[in-house]
């Protein structure tokens, strides 16, 4: 096991060297960040299930696949399939990446509000280095996983969004990360950086989807700096293909009286993992993080969240829901960490799982660690099947069993989906989810 993993690690180290050899010269600050990151990755290596944070998620199927480095080819891109992924609300503020490579011809930045920067990573490195250099990797280092280190070492594509003080763009920014654009399996390491200035407000949608059925690895990292009094709404939709692997990390820091809301949807990929880490760093900061994972067949979805209450008078709310069918597996691990000084903290966390199949399995672990004494905290997890009384009620109105089950399952998921602030994204997910449940039940 150990040997195997070190061999895999060597392959990724070699990919790093290969990239470094051909890459255009990068500024020193970035080159040294990358060297540190790859050294950290080298020291830690890929996690095994002996590692507590990866106990239920075995990454060896990901590591066994040999991924080439991405060219960003879009040979297989079907425009019709792709268009439905683009939120019309974000027309004019939409960046599209294929296997981590920025595609300006698919993107549009014509509708940006005055002073707002939405640009690709390479341009940001060249033009907005002052904003980037002081922040890149700072948040993701707090709870860094080897995958996040690898991302920082390798990332060439990605998006940088800068919203100046007091600015509140009316339309959302949409970042579309497509995988599997070519014929060969490739790995992509896209990087997102969002900086919301003081009293600004912003909605960001990240969509991860696959172009076709080629195996792929998306190893994505996003950092969100939510400034004083700023408000960021973040929607993260992972609906990659059945052959895809997805590892993602989102690191957030919220300043005084700022608020961060996120809805993380995970319905695709063979194996997926998302780490969300929010630091409530100054008084009055708050976050509201919701999530939905929907799995079927042999899928595996792992959601790890951590909220740090670092100072007094912050609040956090969390609701993660899961719908599991077939032989699928899901993991929920949510830690709320209330630090010693964080008096008057309010933190609520709930995880609810709906099991549609006796063979599906969820490992749920809500954790509260409280080192302050004047706090209001709650947490809980439930695992259950569809309610018999609800099924009977629908049947008594003439709905056949498959439809009734689909409707109830949809209703369960809807509590999360209906909160998505961008209508087209919400409607599209509605369709995808209802369709999936209907298919699932009429099979069974």
């Amino acid at each position: 096991m150990k040997l195997l993993l070190s061999e895999e690690k060597d392959r990724y180290l070699a990919a790093y060297d290969a990239r470094a050899a051909v890459a255009v010269a990068e500024p020193d600050w970035l080159a040294s960040l990358r060297r540190l990151a790859i050294a950290r990755f080298d020291a830690v290596g890929f996690p095994t299930t002996r590692n507590e944070a990866w106990k239920y998620t075995d990454v060896s199927p990901i590591l066994k696949t040999e991924f080439g480095s991405s060219t960003g080819s879009i040979g297989k891109l079907s425009f019709a399939g792709f268009e439905c992924l683009r939120a019309p609300e974000a027309e004019g503020a939409c960046l599209v990446f294929v296997d981590g490579v920025y595609h300006p011809e698919l993107s549009s930045m014509s509708g940006l509000a005055e002073g707002v920067v939405v640009t690709d990573f390479a341009t940001a490195v060249a033009v907005h280095f002052d904003a980037l250099a002081v922040r890149l990797g700072v948040l993701s280092a707090h709870e860094s996983t080897p995958f996040a280190s690898l991302n920082l070492a390798m990332a060439t594509g990605g998006a940088v969004v800068l919203v100046p003080k007091g600015c509140a763009p009316a339309s959302p920014v949409h970042l579309v990360y497509l995988s599997g654009g070519g014929d060969e399996p490739v790995a992509a390491h896209p990087r997102t950086m969002v900086v919301a200035g003081e009293s600004s407000s912003l909605t960001v949608v990240e969509t991860f989807a696959s172009v076709n059925g080629v195996a792929s690895l998306t190893n994505a990292v996003a950092e969100f700096h939510v400034g004083e009094n700023a408000r960021v709404d973040h929607v993260r939709v992972q609906r990659e293909g059945a052959q895809a692997f997805h590892v993602g990390a989102t690191a957030v820091e919220v300043r005084r009286s700022g608020s961060y809301s996120s809805i993380a949807i995970s319905i695709g990929a063979a194996i997926s993992r998302h780490d969300l880490h929010v630091r409530l760093a100054e008084e009055g900061a708050s976050c509201h993080i919701d999530g939905l994972y929907v799995t079927e067949g042999e899928q595996h979805a792992d959601s790890h969240t951590r909220i740090d209450h670092l100072v007094p008078r912050c609040s956090s709310r969390q609701l993660y829901k899961g719908v599991l069918d077939g032989d699928s597996r899901a993991v929920f691990n949510g830690k709320v960490y209330v630090h010693h000084d964080a008096q008057k903290t309010e933190a609520h966390q709930t995880n609810r799982n709906l099991m549609l199949s006796p063979r599906a399995r969820v490992d749920t672990k809500p954790e509260l660690e409280i080192y302050a004494d004047d706090v209001v905290c709650s947490h809980g997890a439930t695992v259950g099947a569809l309610e018999a009384e609800e099924q009977f009620y629908l049947a008594s109105r003439g709905l056949d069993e498959a439809t009734a089950r689909a409707v109830l399952t949809y209703g369960f998921a809807e509590e999360i989906v209906e909160e998505i602030p961008v209508a087209s994204v919400r409607r599209h997910l509605d369709e995808v989810i209802l369709d999936r449940f209907q298919k699932g039940f009429s099979k069974g």
Binding site: A388, L399, T403, L408, E414
Partner: protein, 263 residues
């Protein structure tokens, strides 16, 4: 003429406790029946057994709907063939909008009857019309089914469903309980508007006042899992006056009472 619904010596258990102990009742097209009786006597159980609730086991007797064995049908098949139960305690379905739910129910029922389904726009028009009938604000169409509805609003929603699905036999289980006087009038108006010579209503109620609005052809008194007495609407008045004790006192001579009244 075959009766619309014929219940013969029906026995049913839940968790091996016998709740229905020989219910017999014949409901013909065009009739309105009222069932009264003390708490826990089995009225809701009868309603749920007719609708096919899986928690209840029929241990004896039979139920014919238009001469066909109703009990061999699954709950959804019963509903589509024209049996409707307005629940005493309607269930909340979070996350599913009332209008989507109603449209699904409506279209699946239509489809099974060989009628054309309505598209969302057409259905919406019909829904608005029916909501007017039960004096429900249109905002209830967009809320989750029954979620956070008040007791009376849930009951109205049941009547709305009945109005849309146009069943042949509607069993209303205490639809009048917890209704204010306006809501009671609304329910009564709806039932009277929907009643035709082709369909029938069975109303479970504790209150004679409902029967001032909807005049039943028959009143039955349920006791200990069967119909203990049957009569015309004057029976309801008698019960209001004397309570159920008088029925219990007579329970020695119950056999055949229900049949006698249905002739």
């Amino acid at each position: 003429m075959t009766a619309l619904l014929e219940i013969r010596d029906l026995h049913a258990t839940v968790d091996s406790a016998e709740i229905l102990r020989g219910v017999s009742l014949t409901v013909n097209a065009g009739e309105i029946h009222a069932i009264m009786g003390p708490n826990g006597s089995g009225k809701s159980t009868l309603a749920k057994v007719l609708a096919g609730h899986p928690a209840y086991t029929v241990t004896g007797g039979e139920v014919l709907f238009r001469g066909q064995n109703l009990l061999e049908l699954a709950p959804d098949e019963r509903a589509r063939s024209g049996i409707f139960l307005a629940f005493q305690y309607p269930v909340e379905i979070p996350g599913v909008s009332n209008s989507n739910f109603l449209r699904l129910a409506f279209n699946q029922t239509r489809e099974s009857r060989g009628q054309e389904e309505l598209d969302p726009l057409e259905f919406d028009e019909l829904l608005r019309e029916k909501m007017k009938l039960v004096e429900m604000d249109y905002s209830f169409a967009n809320r989750s089914v029954n979620q956070g509805f008040s007791g009376g609003e849930k009951k109205r929603n049941e009547i709305l469903q009945m109005a849309l699905l146009e069943p042949s036999v509607a069993v209303l289980d205490e639809t009048d309980s917890g209704l204010d006087i306006d809501a009671l009038r609304v329910v009564a108006t709806a039932v009277n508007a929907l009643a035709t010579p082709e369909n029938a209503f069975v109303m479970v109620t504790h209150y004679q006042r409902l029967l001032n609005y909807i005049e039943p052809h028959f009143v039955h008194v349920f006791a200990a899992g069967r119909i203990a007495r049957s009569g015309g609407k004057e029976l309801a008045l008698e019960l209001e006056e004397k309570g159920y004790e008088s029925v219990r006192a007579q329970s020695g001579s119950l056999a055949g009472a229900s049949e006698a009244s249905n002739g």
